[in-house]
């Protein structure tokens, strides 16, 4: 299945074509989880703090569905 990935802030350095926030596709087997997606993108353990799908924060064991758009953030804060 195909997953659309958007990386933010310091995670943009993992973009396969160095294109910052631009979405890119990742091919994964059916039933793959967010944790597996993060590993596939090559993000080091502990660096991905928050993952949003359809505007909700999702846990690492969330099972992905074909065509989903996944937004991944490192630890961020502000005010």
């Amino acid at each position: 299945m195909k997953i659309e990935v958007v990386l933010y802030a310091t995670l943009t350095r993992y973009h396969p074509e160095e294109k910052g926030n631009k979405p890119f596709s990742v091919e994964l087997p059916e039933g793959a989880t967010i944790k597996e997606l993060i590993e596939k993108v090559g993000i080091q353990e502990g660096e991905a703090k928050q993952v949003f799908i359809r505007h909700k924060s999702r846990r690492p064991d969330y099972v992905l569905e074909d065509g989903e758009r996944v937004a991944i953030f490192p630890p961020v804060a502000g005010g």
């Binding site: 802030a9 943009t12 630890p75 804060a77």
Partner: protein, 581 residues
């Protein structure tokens, strides 16, 4: 800090007195709120002779404690009609503290239309005629002040909006490079300063002694614990999110969470979010070069460096600082996705001397009224320039979102206690809504930043869309925040100290080391609660503290907010339990 300086604008007398016992060992918000409560009659007109303006550095400001250069400004707010504390980071409070002043009190009222400048030294000050600064923008004033008094002085200055007594006027403090860009922005305290005819304060702190903690060993130990926590936490460390992208790093995450108020709080998602984000700012700093930079700081001793300088295409300086709140209010909230236009609007706010949050919420409401189109940056700039022209429309806009909405018959006015809501949608993030509604300040995110657990997973985790258990969450944040605001610490130390217990211990130890007190962690909550109740009590006496004042804007109860399609659903009865002991 054993002196209070009183500046009486009626008879132009400046007097220095010892700090009375009641106020000893207090600082920042604790001191300003206490003094407002004690000295300002609750029924006073905010712009009349009986309102006063209080400036107080925090309890550890002026020391080497990290990120402790904050000043609290307090008074009765022309915007909300209630008590107000607005704070800013600047070298100004650090110098004020080293000069030995626990508070500066501005009182009385000028009888004519003249402007005055307070020149404050170690042993007192004098009021000097300042008609040469009259009606001038803050940037020009800032340059004139440093040219005349030297670049070692610190200053604060009131813009033309404050002189015109507009309720969105803030007070600008200098940053380390002399920009009038660090604002005690919220609640219209610039209008109070304007009503008293004071245009600027200059601090001449030559030979000011160092601030000496009563227990230097304890102070030093606390200082180290706090610094270690700040420098090791993922969001505040060097190369972390705040340092690399500034506060606007939040634009994308709030957008992904569906909580970024867009087009005057019509939806929680903005298509142009990435273009006005922290990432876009960092990219512009890199590609445009020149004056643009990330990692700027608002005062010496800051080890987070979340500020920035934004450059024009040719590399020349456009404005400092593009904050999350400003980029949201004048960007997403108005449907504007052009960072150069947003930067220009921020520059105009700084020059006129107004709060960027109230400004953006007001423009959003004005767009709702049809005065400009959502997304039309040029139209927004043109509309906003009416404030600078002081046209009749400018005077309406200058009174803020609530007043503007009422003038044009708008029903979607996102305010609480007449103050514009900041950059988090209460229908999508319920805890922050409780803070907006219950804080004595009027809608204010900094009063109890539940976004940390609700969106950022800092200090635990809470479900943003859930209405459950949000009263207690907001209350705990509000209590701790009132204490941090009294220390003079930047609120961003909250992120590391929420996650790292030794950092929290460090805060308490620096205060104890400084004052010789024996406060514990429990005292932080107790003192914070005491401050909130002083403020609430003032509001009750002023007529803005009743249950009716602690309510959300009605449209949020019946209008579902996309993408989650939630309404505001925390029952009023539950809101009313906030003040139960």
């Amino acid at each position: 800090m054993d002196k209070i300086v009183r500046v009486n604008m009626t008879d132009k007398k400046v007097t220095v007195e010892p700090v009375p016992d009641k106020y000893k060992g207090k600082g920042g918000r604790w001191l300003t709120s206490l003094m407002v409560s004690d000295e300002v009659p609750a029924g006073a007109h905010p712009l009349g002779p009986n309102n006063k303006l209080f400036f107080a550095p925090g309890m550890v400001t002026g020391t080497h404690a990290p990120n402790s250069g904050r000043i609290s400004v307090g008074g009765k707010s022309p915007l909300t009609g209630g008590i107000k504390e607005a704070n800013a980071g600047s070298p100004f409070p650090q110098k004020l503290a080293r000069m030995g002043y626990a508070a500066l009190v501005l009182e009385g009222l000028v009888e004519d239309d003249k402007r005055w400048l307070l020149k404050l030294g170690l042993d007192g000050g004098e009021l000097l005629p300042a008609d040469d600064l009259k009606d001038k923008g803050t940037y020009e004033c800032a340059k004139m002040l440093w040219d005349k008094y030297g670049e070692k002085t610190a200053f604060c200055v009131n813009g033309p909006a404050g002189e015109a007594k507009m309720a969105m006027a803030g007070i600008a403090f200098n940053d380390p490079e002399g920009r009038p860009a660090r604002y005690a922005g919220r609640g219209g305290l610039g209008a109070v300063m304007g009503s008293k005819g004071l245009k600027a304060i200059v601090l001449e702190d030559e030979n000011a002694p160092a601030v000496k903690p009563k227990d230097p060993e304890m102070f030093k130990a606390g200082q180290k614990k706090l610094a270690d926590a700040i420098l090791s936490h993922d969001v505040t460390k060097k190369g972390g999110a705040l340092n690399s992208y500034g506060t606007a790093v939040l634009i994308n995450i709030l957008n992904e969470a569906g909580g970024l108020p867009t087009n005057n709080f019509r939806t929680g998602v903005f298509d142009g979010a990435q273009k006005i984000s922290g990432e876009a700012l960092a990219e512009a700093a890199k590609t445009r070069g020149g004056a643009g930079m990330m990692g700027h700081s608002c005062h010496p001793g800051c080890i987070i460096h979340c500020s920035n300088v934004y450059a024009k295409e040719d590399g020349s300086e456009h404005v400092s600082c593009v904050e999350y709140e400003s980029s949201w209010s004048l960007g997403a909230n108005c449907g504007i996705d052009n960072l150069d236009q947003v930067a220009e609007l921020i520059r105009m706010c700084n020059d006129y001397g107004v709060d960027t949050i109230e400004a953006g919420v007001t423009v959003g409401v004005a767009m709702e009224a049809g005065l400009a189109k959502f997304g039309d940056g040029k139209g927004a700039i043109e509309l906003f320039s009416e404030i600078g022209k002081r046209s009749p429309l400018g005077h309406i806009l200058g009174q803020g979102a609530q007043f503007t909405g009422e003038a044009y018959g708008v029903t979607r006015i996102p305010t609480v206690k007449r103050q514009g809501m900041p950059a988090y949608e209460p229908r999508a993030v319920k805890g922050i809504g409780v803070t907006y509604i219950t804080t004595p300040m009027g809608a204010d995110h900094t009063a109890g930043y539940t976004i940390a657990p609700e969106i950022l997973s800092v200090g635990g985790k809470a479900e943003p869309l859930s209405a459950k258990d949000k009263i207690g969450l907001s209350k705990a944040f509000q209590q701790t925040t009132a204490f941090i605001d009294s220390c003079g610490y930047c609120l961003f130390i909250a992120f590391p100290i929420l996650d790292i217990p030794s950092g929290f211990d460090g805060v308490v130890e620096t205060v104890n080391g400084m004052l010789g007190t024996k406060y514990t962690g429990d005292d932080v909550t107790r003192i914070g609660d005491e401050i909130l109740r002083i403020e609430k009590d003032f509001n009750v006496r002023a007529g803005v503290g009743g249950k009716d004042a602690d309510r959300p804007p009605e449209f949020m109860r019946y209008e579902k907010l996309p993408p989650h399609n939630h309404v505001w659903d925390i029952p009023d009865e539950e809101l009313d339990t906030f003040w139960d002991k």
